[in-house]
Symmetry: C2
Subunit: 431 residues, 2 copies
């Protein structure tokens, strides 16, 4: 029995308009970088995927071609082993200092795995969710993801931003710094997308200001809209406990208040609310200590960071086995990543917490048919074969030109913040 063979892998870096969002690491640049990967078989079946953009990941993807071209896209175990064996141990283990924790080889395999699953689904006439055991729900719920931000919608190259969501476009461009500004942002986003949970990316202002924002959200939305706050690990242990106490009874969960598993474990013991993380437990290698010391209640997985969709299903089993809950982290992304997240979300045993997505903050799109619609805060699971989304080649070319023109090759929120405030320095722990 002869299977299809991977004939070509196409790697296209793109830059997408991103608003000036604040976070503990600094400020989002006017463009966020993504990499679009296409895996093409000898019989011209094309699988696609999208991963965080970074010049080093693209170089590693280029190098991965040496061992992946010629392989059967069904042989995902062989593809994984080949990649791991092709890079030296130092590279495979490499992790960045930044909160988003770049790990090249994990991104490389995630990109290839999702594209191969798209191919397999297309060959079989089955949506990707069916390759993960099949769907457990028709719609996958997401949360409103609020950001402190400066005024503006991002972009500086003359490309017009657009939005299919009435009322949200102006709110998306507005400044949001005060508690009132955050509540206004939340009202507009919830109205436009129908989200039923709300998260604030914190770590941008001093703790009391952020606690006041959460209290203002609670005062407006009440206890039926679960709230989350994420200081991105920039708080001291004592700060996290003191200000965390002020949010007990208000938060559904408290995300990464402090840095590292041991500190997270201490905060978890001190506070009466669940702790979530995408910063202290971010790989299978981190799981044993997480279990030993109890560093969190909820792991915010991300298939781009955990080695793909099948690996994320394995993570779900690990979580189920050890009494952890699983939800999902995101970065600025477009519809290919969103589709993959939705297929995964549809297969997971449970979704106890609505998933994170930056999607409302983006206005570009790289898929045919334009931006994916949210209904009541949820996205319908595609039923077409594969991921169910296809590349808009005109949009891809334009966004790739954006990439070349904007001059960015990797994310650096510190440099961007220094354009606004030259004195600003990234601090792993600030308050």
């Amino acid at each position: 029995m002869k299977g299809p063979i991977i004939r070509e892998i196409s790697i296209t870096p793109i830059a997408i308009v991103d608003p000036p969002l604040l976070n503990a690491a600094g400020l989002h640049a006017p463009y966020a970088l993504r990499t679009i990967v296409e895996v093409i078989t000898d019989d011209n079946i094309r699988g696609i995927s999208e991963i965080p953009g970074n010049i080093e990941t693209e170089i590693a993807l280029e190098k991965a071609k040496e061992v992946i071209i010629g392989k059967d896209p069904f042989q995902l175990n062989q593809i994984k082993d080949a990649i791991e064996n092709h890079f030296d141990k130092e590279t495979t283990a490499q992790r960045g200092d930044a909160p988003w924790d770049q790990r090249k080889i994990v991104h490389v395999f995630s990109a290839l795995e999702v594209a191969c699953l798209d191919i397999i689904g297309k060959i079989q006439g089955r949506p990707v969710v069916d390759l993960l055991g099949g769907k457990r729900r028709d719609r996958v719920p997401f949360a409103a993801y609020l950001f402190y931000k400066y005024e503006g919608a991002g972009g500086h190259l003359g490309f017009k931003t657009d939005s299919n969501t009435s009322g949200w476009d102006s709110a998306r461009q507005a400044e949001a710094v005060t508690p009132e500004g955050i509540v206004r942002q939340a009202i507009a986003m919830v109205k436009a997308f129908g989200f039923k949970s709300i998260k604030l990316k914190g770590g941008a202002f001093e703790p009391q200001q952020e606690v006041d924002a959460m209290k203002a959200l609670f005062a407006h939305f009440g206890k039926d809209v679960p709230l989350r706050h994420d200081p991105n690990a920039i708080w001291e242990l004592e700060t996290a406990i003191a200000y965390g106490r002020k949010m007990e009874g208000i938060l559904e969960y408290f995300e990464d208040p402090v840095r590292g598993q041991p500190n997270m474990s201490k905060v978890r013991k001190a506070l009466k609310m669940p702790l979530a993380t995408n910063m202290c437990t971010t790989s299978f290698e981190d799981i044993p200590q997480s279990i030993a010391i109890g560093s969190e209640d909820i792991i915010l997985s991300d298939h781009h960071f955990w080695g793909g969709l099948r690996s994320s299903m394995e993570l779900a089993k690990v979580c189920e086995t050890f009494g952890r809950k699983l939800s999902m982290h995101s970065n600025s992304h477009l519809g290919i990543s969103l589709a993959a997240m939705v297929h995964l979300g549809a297969a997971l045993p449970e979704i106890p917490y609505a998933l994170d997505t930056h999607y409302p903050w983006q206005s570009d799109e790289v898929i045919l048919g334009g931006r994916i619609k949210f209904e009541e805060g949820a996205v319908s699971v595609p039923t077409e074969p594969g991921l169910g989304v296809e590349i808009d080649r005109e949009a891809l070319a334009r966004l790739h030109q954006n990439y070349i023109a904007c001059g960015l090759t990797k994310r650096d929120d510190e440099v961007e913040m220094q354009k606004v405030n030259p004195e600003w320095k990234f601090k792993a722990v600030r308050w």
Copy 2:
């Protein structure tokens, strides 16, 4: 997109000739029971599987039809959830006292999952291993599985036993009680099948006699043939440590010397060799305590007991994450189970220890083409779509008649032993 629909589930209990093998629970009956499950779609694609036979499992399978018929066989997550929701909690959690630890619902889902994977593979033109991420090896290694036994080949209903393995058939019928008898059995089995590792099922005689058998095997085969001993948890803690010490340097691993995770953990700390289990850590629910107290080094999984092939891949990830090794347990079985074990074995990240199989002890077969061949102790991974084995309907009918005629409805090694020795009683811990 309309998928296939499960139209019919056929459940056929069979009885296969089994020799009078001794173990801690007593004596194998002249027939071992298996259940052959066939899942048939509306377009007449037929998926098959084989599980341990037990009247209660068959009743549960019959009841599972109420929620499974009409489902798409690709929707394995839905099938699992439907089964778990269809039986009350007491039933789903039910575990027997016997070492083989019957758990009805796990067997039910395992039977349906393997049969559905057979269907999916047939529809896709892909071997089942490709539904587990694809094969990492072309041949899957097994170990010689020695038993203390009385003379005889099993069977009493006039059905002729046969064997395709020259030299083994007479050794298979011979008594093996002394160290010399065990070595003779090992020589014949290794010669016939080419096994490169050897396991003795112990717990049948007092500890020194079994240690002497292991020493005799070591004296004959030398250090290049890894040896294992399995007292089936029938030893006291002190016995296991004292007699375990005598086998340090001889055993590749020591399997279930004592009962329960806390005792296993103590033996593991006391001895300088790896401990394996299929008795103290036998489900995902057992994993947290296993990790917390370190009850074993090696988990001997069994897809019939761990919820199927995909679940076994998840177990492999759990093992990899926590530094456990994974190998495979078996019961008396035929070629459908063996094929499923081989597909799983081909997909596993590693096979650090050759897998267990009772297959050489059986002489019946239920698949077309007769009994599966071993070469150098290994089985080649089927490359045909699905499991790559099909039911021999004449053999199935004959083995089902065997089932009706033999009068057994579940395994009971104690009753069988009492036919030889009326005073004999099962003891969970004997020495």
